[in-house]
Symmetry: C2
Subunit: 157 residues, 2 copies
Amino acid sequence: MPDLLTIGELSARSGVAPSALRYYERLGLIRADRTGGNQRRYARAELRRVAFIRISQQVGVSLDEIRAALDSLPEARTPSPQDWARLSASWRSRLDERIRLLTKLRDDLDGCIGCGCLSLQRCTLNNPEDTLAGEGPGARLVLPRPTDDPTLAGSLN
Amino acid sequence: MPDLLTIGELSARSGVAPSALRYYERLGLIRADRTGGNQRRYARAELRRVAFIRISQQVGVSLDEIRAALDSLPEARTPSPQDWARLSASWRSRLDERIRLLTKLRDDLDGCIGCGCLSLQRCTLNNPEDTLAGEGPGARLVLPRPTDDPTLAGSLN
DNA sequence: CCTTGAGTTGAAGTGCACTTCAACTAACAC
DNA sequence: GTGTTAGTTGAAGTGCACTTCAACTCAAGG
């Protein structure tokens, strides 16, 4: 009944490279049992954890935050569907926010395409709150410093 | 009339750190004249280039691609509004695609929150084309390897 | 038993977009 | 002229998410 997966099997089924799975384990995102010969054997439940990790990355969440989220799962029992639903729901507002920002950027861009003025920086760039931070893997802040000169607005030329 | 900007002024007006501006120059994204004492002096037109760079990054374009886009601007004259409009418009479909993928992810997530099955990987993860590649600065492929096992679908448990 | 493919480790490397540093020079106000 | 602030350089460092490598061991089939 345990029906454990080798790292190669988990990799094939999840689409995640073995090296990435080992990396996730080092960071504490997934865990594996070991055979007598020290090889990893994954419970099928790990498949769901890996799925959650990849989905979360697409939402724009860092591995560190994903780890924190996974840490909130019950340790005693195998997480229930409701547990996963709760975690997924917690990304919802981030996703909404990202979609909102990108949509706004698109609209601003549309509004500017006619004139080529690039004045949308007035709304988009000059708005430190409106930052697409933590976009994807490896990402850092898009605007590392706050814009500190409000005279920018409308003075592009 | 030249009315040149120091690196500090360009930094303040664009919200981009001086070190980043020097980095952009090394990559050939912007250019500067020099004073007798070797200090950078930027034409006001560079302000618009920097604005374009930051907007493009928010769209999810790498500096390398941004450089290629900027290289397509006329060298002889100062780019016209139409030139900028053309470049901005060229990001439009990328933006649309990113918004589409994120919206799809959100809808899939919504559909799964009720059951917590995470089966959305069937649609989202198991779909190599549907990848949010090049999310933001520093980002690489989200799915470095194509998913190579189609038996994944529906077999999460 | 032996081969072969799959797995193990720690350390180092990669790619991107920067930042930091030290040692030095310029520009400008007074 | 002198001090202060702002600028210069190349080289190295940072953070994230991995990948690659070498040297080695395990597991399973024939």
